[in-house]
């Protein structure tokens, strides 16, 4: 199936603006820990494309830079990761992390 062409008239949002629509109460402790040595041996880099919050960024030297602050806590990264032990993932401290909006 062919990919759908992007409508050039659609006002595409910057990713910063997009992620800025969600509220995150950031705790000082990182709830995601990534073992960069394991990532250097990874060829798929599934987390880079799949994380909906774009928290994983490849570096020039073959490693992975990651953020934990604006995380939806969805679990996609560790589920798609096929290098065992690369991503250690727990929930943030109580009251912290993503807070979806009430009306």
């Amino acid at each position: 199936m062919a990919l759908i062409e992007r409508d050039p008239t659609w006002p595409e949002m910057s990713f910063d603006d997009r992620i800025g629509t969600a509220e995150f109460r950031v705790h000082e402790r990182a709830h995601i820990v990534v073992d960069g040595d394991v990532c250097r041996g990874c060829t798929t880099r599934a987390c880079v494309v799949a994380c909906p919050a774009r928290l994983f960024v490849p570096t020039a030297d073959g490693g992975i830079l990651f953020n934990y602050e604006q995380c939806f806590e969805c679990g996609t990264c560790y589920l798609v990761c096929n290098e065992s032990g690369a991503i250690t993932w727990t929930y943030p401290e109580g009251g912290h992390g993503v807070v979806f909006r009430r009306t």
């Binding site: 990919l3 759908i4 969600a22 909906p52």
Partner: protein, 437 residues
């Protein structure tokens, strides 16, 4: 520490729809129940597409429709099949669904879950927010006797724990209720909540008052196995996609780009354009149903809702909150009975699985066990949309001076053009008939 220190009869982890319903049943049975939530308020961590079916609450909250924080009552349901340039829609509407007892409703989860946790409090459950459960506490025999939390002196004891801690359920995994986790059993849901004036929504979607629309979409996900949706809230739309995790990882296409592709489709763009994104959100869905069903009980422990993978993703039926509420209620009732009898071993809690089998929760999952795999299969995802859309296009296209072709011939031709073997088409049709029939 032993169970003698227990301050509660039961601890429920997670104040989502499963946890709140479990807490309600325990409180109704006169038990001291603690409902622990890691978010600052119930629902703050919870996200879904946007439609809830609350009839399971009929006997629990009489006339729940007067107090539940609903956006719109779904009176119009559309199923769409998209190819890059075509759209086939089956559209149904019913006035009956706009009156009590209603059918489906759009609702925001932070509103709905917050309300339902309030019902649990009304029944006497104690709600503790901003508290993350970090693990299980067990006695010498391995039986669960409480939970560890991230609060100072945060160990909490109770003779039974009900884990309703969501799709990632670290408690169910810690208890060994899941085997190896397979990413192919999960999808990622991403959505945009898009603000539009109320009258614009009502004009575009052809509804009035509190009536609303539920559109489920096959195709339009940039070639990634999954589906799309558009739901009407009062003054926003929920627009998003559900993507099979390994397929998403394999494509060099990011989730928000897939939403952008759906929004740009000629059948979707006129519905959503001009709106401002109010919130972008994401959540993982346990998609594989029966195939991924874990063990449901251990000594001193039950699991319910997404923690037990009880989401139903069966093509024309996409339900989760009702399965969470149904399983949560059953877990609460079984735990209360087990407390009365004083047997909280896995054997003492075994009635839970039977209770689920006797209701829609496991009856639907068993009956539809082959459907999630079929819906996410490559044929249904990548070949059938083209086949069906081209078939319909040829039926309605007037190619004079050519005479109208016979349906059987078009089907045979389009099947070949789509590269579908007759045998596979018949087999899939049979699977569908047997499951839905």
């Amino acid at each position: 520490m032993t169970e003698q220190h227990a301050e509660f009869d039961a601890i429920v982890v997670g104040a989502g729809p499963a946890g709140s319903c479990a807490a309600i049943e325990l409180a109704r049975a006169g038990k001291q129940v603690l409902l622990v939530e890691r978010g600052p308020f119930p629902g703050s961590k919870n996200m879904y597409g946007g439609v809830v079916y609350p009839r399971i609450l009929d006997d629990l909250v009489p006339e729940w429709w007067d107090e539940a924080p609903v956006q719109r009552w779904v009176t119009r349901r559309s199923t769409m099949v998209l190819t890059p340039t075509q759209a086939l829609t089956v559209d149904f509407r019913s006035e009956a669904w706009g009156q009590p007892p209603y059918n489906g409703a759009t609702a925001y989860r932070p509103d709905f879950d917050h309300w339902l946790a309030g019902v649990a409090e009304r029944h006497g459950a104690l709600l503790l927010c901003s508290t993350t459960v970090t693990g299980l506490l067990r006695n010498d025999t391995g039986r669960v006797i409480g939970v560890r939390t991230d609060r100072p002196d945060g160990d909490l004891y109770a003779p039974v724990v009900i884990a309703c801690d969501g799709v990632n359920s670290f408690l169910a995994k810690e208890a060994g209720l899941y085997g190896d986790v397979n990413a192919a059993h999960y999808t990622l849901g991403v959505k945009e909540t898009i603000a539009l004036p109320r009258d614009v929504i009502e004009e575009r979607f052809g509804v009035r008052g509190r009536h609303g629309v539920d559109i489920e979409i096959l195709g339009g996900t940039s070639g990634i196995n999954g589906g799309g949706f558009v739901y009407t809230n009062l003054d926003t739309l929920s627009v998003g996609v559900v993507l099979k995790l390994p397929a998403l990882a394999a494509q060099q296409r990011r989730p928000e780009e897939v939403i952008a592709g759906l929004k740009a489709h000629p059948a979707i763009a006129p519905l959503v354009e001009g709106g401002e994104v109010k919130e972008y959100s994401a959540h993982v869905i346990p998609e594989a149903g029966w195939t991924m069903l874990p063990q449901l009980a251990a000594d001193g422990l039950l699991i319910a809702g997404d923690a037990a993978a009880l989401c139903l993703a069966a093509g024309i039926w996409l339900e989760g909150v009702n399965f969470a509420m149904g399983s949560g209620r059953a877990a609460g009732r079984v735990a209360a009975r087990a407390l009365d009898r004083g047997n909280l071993t896995a054997a003492g809690l075994a009635g839970y699985r039977r209770a689920l089998e006797e209701t829609f929760v496991l009856a639907d999952h068993r009956k539809l066990r082959n459907v999630p795999g079929l819906v996410l299969s490559d044929r249904v995802q990548h070949q059938y949309p083209d086949l069906i859309a081209n078939l319909v296009q040829r039926v309605f296209q007037v190619d004079n001076p050519m005479p109208k072709p016979g349906l059987r011939r078009i089907l045979a031709q389009e099947r070949k053009r789509a590269g579908v073997r007759r045998r596979d088409l018949l087999r899939d049709a049979w699977t569908g008939l047997r499951s839905f029939g």
